[in-house]
Symmetry: C2
Subunit: 175 residues, 2 copies
């Protein structure tokens, strides 16, 4: 299954670290890349390209002005649209349906999500109905959809690799 | 199982939203509460108490100066110490052992974690060996340890409850 993440309404000051975490989770848990809307943030993009360069890829981060155009583009390319929101149906109840899709665009909002997003989405899906975090919601969603790929995800051309160890840090320099 | 979260080295400017997300995830996914070190942040504590007041409890947030004292206190009260880090052993390999514990103190760091934390921890555990997010790591850890409690966690004295719905928002005012 191919999953791309759409992050809405990024504000470089307030959201830099949260959006960065969204992107890092997307990469580590097996999504192809992240498209974000809001305000373009060169510095954040640079940080993420550096991570993909050091720890391997492929992984993309792309800015777009209009979330609606992104959704239309992906719908016309056969993607199903899944919006993560605490108001949606809980993941376990819809997961069997979602697992059948080949291509999914996952939308994660920030503070205020336009009403239209709920309408454009094929599924509005909750990771529990309590306020928590789009970073956590995305992690649990990808974990279930991509069969816990985070624990054995392989990246190409990594310069560094971690050797799991019970105490301290072991890092292998590959090139 | 009783899980308490220890968040290290909070800096109110840089970390406010990430630490807030850590705390919200702790609550939503079933931990008892969060202790944080670093710099005391009244504003963040207020935000979190407001969430617990609106969406229900019990849930605590507490500031402590010394992480070492917290670890010693919890160890002497029978807690096992699990430090989440990308350098540790992957969760699936240690989960059967961890699930046997009755009380767990979970440490999540920020940018630089003191070497001693790795030594004081009974287990250093990775949610994959790639850089991503302490918010995501905590979510996956609690999801596995507390059997996906996020999907049916009950809170006492909630003023608001969400009714899961396929489109839009349905919120029930309980009191």
């Amino acid at each position: 299954m191919e999953v791309v993440v759409l992050r809405l309404s990024h504000r470089p000051g307030r959201d830099k670290r949260i959006t960065t975490h969204v992107c890092l989770v997307a990469r580590a848990f097996g999504a192809e890349g992240v498209i974000y809307t809001g305000i373009k943030d060169e510095e954040m993009e640079k940080t993420l390209r550096k991570v993909a360069n050091t720890w391997g890829g492929p992984f993309f981060v792309r800015y777009e002005k209009s979330w609606k155009n992104v959704v239309k583009e992906f719908k016309s390319n056969g993607f199903k649209i899944v919006h993560l929101t605490m108001y949606g149906l809980n993941l376990p109840t819809v997961l069997p349906k979602l697992k059948k899709f080949k291509k999914v665009l996952t939308i994660v909002g920030s503070e205020k999500v336009p009403k239209e997003v709920y309408e454009y989405a094929d599924f509005n899906v909750a990771i529990g109905n309590q306020p928590h975090s789009e970073v956590a919601a995305l992690a649990i969603f990808l974990d279930r959809m991509l069969d816990s790929k985070v624990f054995d995800n392989k990246f190409e051309d990594a310069k560094l690799k971690v050797i799991p160890t019970p105490k301290g840090k072991k890092i292998l320099r590959v090139k």
